[in-house]
């Protein structure tokens, strides 16, 4: 296991006692992309801060590539790459120099650091902007430079804390493909997010955490199955005569969780099964099917199911 988090807790003792992390156990395998999902204040960022040597845990251990991050933080940092929530690029250095000096910090020689920086500029399509200062970069470009910098010293684990917060959709897509690209290099990625779509499409496995605890852990598909996320079929029909009988028939099917008549047709909630769609279309044909939309099960439903609908601050 490349990342081992065991019985991790972090309690902030002040006027108000806050249990930010309450006994988290996680293990990441080499090369996987792991999503840490949770509402604001769930303990995601605290967990990452501890793993990246920036916060001391109250109890428990974190090992990165076998190195205990509390006992040997400086040593552990060689295995860690971090893309923080905020743009922390060095404002006094150009894009190229940000990469170059980062490499120097990690002991690269001049020639080696130079070659690695140029290689990264090319890989992340930043070559044209190599002499630009970070203040002149857009949010998306800045994020790309941050990812390039974070992997410059070839860490074993890359931590991405809310990588797409504040990015426009295009930049977010570009960021996703950059992260996907890391898979080829064998880097293990731990990302936190509250964009369900992001976690769903990027992660091999996800953990949903809330109140500092892991509520569910597994592949996105497995979580959707386990926590009853349903495929929703919305059918628009010309005629509604005799619809009630059809609803009753559908409800009786084992693969259908629920069915109801709507203002302009019929809605069916089902666990995803191949046999249902042809039957539904055939059934609906009698009522004059005009349109059909299918919403695949999403992590969002799982997430809401586990963490509730209450608004978090």
């Amino acid at each position: 296991m490349i990342v081992e988090i065991q019985h991790l807790t972090k309690i902030y003792e002040s006027k108000l006692r806050v249990v930010a992390v309450d006994g988290i156990d996680l293990e990441l395998e080499q090369g996987e992309i792991f999503g840490l999902l949770g509402p604001n204040g769930a303990g995601k960022t605290t967990t990452i801060s501890i793993a990246t040597t920036r916060t001391l845990p109250t109890s428990g251990t974190v090992r990165i590539a076998g190195v205990d991050v509390v006992r040997h933080p400086a040593h552990a940092r060689r295995h860690i790459g971090v893309v923080p929530q905020f743009n922390t690029l060095d404002r006094s250095l150009t894009v190229y120099e940000n990469l170059y000096y980062h490499c120097r910090y990690f002991g690269f020689s001049h020639g080696h650091a130079r070659a690695r920086s140029l290689e990264l500029l090319e890989q992340f399509l930043l070559t044209e902007r190599k002499d630009v200062y970070p203040a002149q970069l857009s949010g998306g470009l800045g994020q790309r430079v941050q990812i390039a910098r974070a992997i410059a010293h070839r860490p074993t684990v890359l931590f991405l804390d809310e990588p797409s917060a504040g990015l426009d959709p295009q930049s977010r897509m570009a960021m996703w493909s950059a992260v996907e690209g890391l898979r080829k290099e064998g880097i293990t990625v731990l990302l936190t997010t509250h964009y369900m779509e992001e976690a769903d499409s990027l992660s091999d496995r996800v953990a949903i955490i809330d109140h500092g605890r892991v509520l569910a852990l597994g592949t996105p598909e497995k979580l959707k199955q386990t926590y009853g996320a349903e495929t929703v079929f919305d059918l628009k029909l010309k005629s509604r005569e005799g619809l009630e009988a059809a609803v009753a028939t559908l409800k009786a099917r084992p693969d259908v969780r629920g069915a109801e008549a709507t203002a302009d047709g019929l809605r069916v909630m089902a666990v995803a099964q191949d046999g249902l769609l042809p039957d539904l279309v055939q059934e609906a044909a009698r009522f004059g099917l005009r349109d059909l939309t299918i919403a695949e099960p999403s992590l969002e439903t799982v997430f809401i199911h586990l963490t509730g609908r209450d608004l978090r601050e």
């Binding site: 801060s49 990246t52 040597t53 920036r54 916060t55 001391l56 933080p73 400086a74 040593h75 940092r77 060689r78 860690i80 971090v82 923080p84 905020f86 922390t88 690029l89 060095d90 404002r91 006094s92 250095l93 120099e97 000096y101 980062h102 120097r104 910090y105 990690f106 002991g107 910098r149």
Partner: protein, 284 residues
């Protein structure tokens, strides 16, 4: 038995490896700061040079030429003012340079930009990151202090009587005073939030400079006993007096052993305080 000795051997090997990596990381941080400084070298020279330049020009060039009843007029006093304030101006240059090089950037890197994150994630202990800041600032302070010497030679109407015979003492005082200024910068930069840094300048930095025996030797405070004792708590006093002992030994100054002891004491105290503040800011 065998396995434990193997383990020890492994550990010592790992620590030798680590210290090599720490050293390279430290060097990387220095190179980065050097790159930024060389890019802004002219602004740096102007920043550190302008104050002593104007000071010398007004007090040792203009005023002595005004003559008539002016206590600073040429030949009026027992000792020319230029010689008295040369060490003081060097101390001020060290002091301001240390604060500008550590306190100001650190305060904004902690607060607004969080740029410090990048350097804090380097593969070396956190105290070494703070130490690098202080060392690099000390280097700038030394340049700033040495810059004052040629100015003091060419500007004043009455030539300054600098007599540097004890080079070892000069080097020692310069290094200690510069590290001390950097440590003070570390304390201010890591404990004061960026919005209040201007205020701290006015209520701490300016007063300790003015009352730092910069414009007069400590020995001349005989008539104001309470002040003579009160300023002993001001580290700038030892910077000025130390430079006085090394650069213009003909002017009354404290004994060298007292100066060095006090410099080391204040360096240790402020260094410790600054480091604590720094760790508190980067580690929660």
């Amino acid at each position: 038995m065998n396995s434990s000795s193997n383990l020890q051997h492994g550990n010592s090997h790992a620590s030798a490896l680590d210290s090599g990596i720490f050293f390279k990381a430290f060097l990387g941080l220095l190179l980065r700061d050097l790159r930024v400084l060389t890019r802004e070298f002219l602004p740096f020279l102007l920043r550190v040079g302008m104050q002593p330049l104007l000071f010398l020009f007004v007090f040792t060039f203009i005023l002595p030429r005004m003559g008539g009843g002016n206590p600073l007029a040429a030949g009026g006093g027992k000792t020319d003012f230029g010689t008295i304030i040369l060490p003081g101006l060097m101390a001020v240059a060290i002091m301001f340079s240390g604060i500008a090089a550590v306190a100001l950037p650190l305060s904004s890197e902690f607060g607004i930009t969080r740029e410090i994150d990048d350097r804090v994630m380097c593969p070396l202990p956190l105290w070494a990151v703070a130490l690098e800041k202080v060392c690099f600032s000390a280097m700038q302070s030394i340049i700033a202090a040495l810059l004052v010497i040629p100015m003091a030679i060419y500007i004043p109407a009455v030539p300054v009587r600098a007599d540097i015979s004890n080079w070892f003492l000069l080097a020692l005082v310069l290094v200690l005073a510069s590290l001390l200024a950097g440590s003070l910068g570390l304390v201010i930069g890591s404990t004061v939030n960026p919005r209040q840094i201007g205020l701290v300048f006015s209520i701490i930095v300016v007063p300790i400079t003015f009352l730092g025996c910069v414009y007069y030797p400590w020995a001349w405070l005989d008539k104001i006993k309470w002040l003579k004792i009160a300023v002993l708590f001001n580290p700038i006093v030892y910077m000025s007096e130390g430079l006085r002992a090394a650069v213009t030994p003909s002017i009354a100054h404290m004994p060298w052993w007292a100066i060095l002891t006090a410099l080391v004491f204040f360096l240790a105290a402020l260094g410790r305080w600054g480091l604590k503040g720094f760790l508190g800011r980067v580690l929660s």
